[in-house]
Symmetry: C2
Subunit: 200 residues, 2 copies
DNA sequence: GTCTATACTTCGATAGAC
DNA sequence: GTCTATCGAAGTATAGAC
């Protein structure tokens, strides 16, 4: 494992396909379904190529996580510069990578230390950025930060998105309508539509 | 798999040890670490005994889940008849089975249909019971159910407990103090200490 | 870069002695 | 009820031809 073997180019098309395929398998069937052969089949390439591009399966997992994390941070960045940042952010959080993949990685992290560290760093980074943005946002709305600290808003929204997405996978709906309504009321109060903003 | 082989008694001590060992391995290292040999070693019994007591590994997982679920429902029942039900319930929710094991099972459910159904049923049952109890509790406190529907309170507390416990595993603390304070304020408001209740 | 072939390990599951 | 022994399948990973 992890020998001095040379690896293929970072910008290879096949490498991209493997990362994409792994992501898909994780979302569809969970991390335990990710095997050399399964991923190669999904990507439509030869199984041996996995080891041409990645030293170990763990490296593949890490790369999938990094890609997803960066993509998510980028989506977050765009949300924060949108007309109504909180609304845009909520859309992103309830999307596919926002919660479903993250739960898979958290479960995976339970017995892979390298991955655990990477995930922890990402979540903290994600939350710090939101905290900074929310600080301005709430101040602009005249919200008292003792009633609603920015970091609290961040962790609450993240936790709500997570439970909604993951329970939806199980086919659970009980309480979801109420929670969604609550979130919409909350962010509408913190971020009323401006006169010249388009309707939703 | 799942042949007509006869299984050992349900009340066997060895069987209990296997269930307990599996639970522990899942909490410590995640469901992917659960193998015939690993579980047997943890329980201090011979690996072949796993198949004497369970038809398949999936059956073992299901039994672990059912045990944990029943134990949790029982703890919930006791909480609801405590002096301050919300406070007691919050304690239980942030305990070991409340969130950590549940996440493992949700991840496991991603590629095992039988388990998915069982988990969905359990969560709904759990939430329905809370909803019923909270309906009385909130009414007694004169809370308007339009502001705080009982099922919303249930799903919110569950989601908060989940994020706190699971992030704690990763060593994340950012926002946790604020969230904990928020929950304590929330449930203290809904459930003020009665004159003759002991101090906490 | 991509393929075939294969070494090595571990897993789930069973058979049968005790 | 518990043990040893083992089978077949599937996993990670590598070597080497093309």
């Amino acid at each position: 494992m992890a020998s001095a073997r040379k690896l293929g180019a970072q910008n290879s098309k096949t490498r991209d396909a493997l990362i994409k395929a792994t992501t898909q398998v994780m979302i569809d069937e969970g991390y335990a379904a990710v095997t050399t052969r399964r991923v190669a089949a999904e990507a439509g390439v030869n199984p041996a190529l996995v080891y041409y591009y990645f030293a170990t399966m763990d490296e593949l997992f890490l790369e999938v996580f990094r890609r997803g994390a960066e993509a998510n941070l980028e989506r977050q960045r765009q949300s924060l510069s949108a007309e109504r940042p909180l609304h845009a952010l909520w859309e992103v959080s309830t999307g596919p990578f926002g919660a479903k993949l993250l739960m898979e990685f958290m479960a995976l992290a339970n017995h892979r230390k390298d991955i655990r560290v990477e995930i922890a760093r990402y979540i903290e980074r994600f939350r710090e950025i939101q905290q900074a943005a929310f600080t301005f946002l709430l101040r602009a709305q005249g919200v008292n930060v003792d009633d609603m600290p920015p970091v609290l808003l961040s962790i609450m929204l993240g936790s709500f998105a997570s439970i909604l997405v993951n329970e939806q996978t199980l086919g659970i709906e009980l309480g979801h309508a109420e929670l969604t309504a609550f979130v919409e009321r909350l962010i509408a109060g913190l971020e009323p539509p401006t006169p010249n903003s388009e309707r939703t």
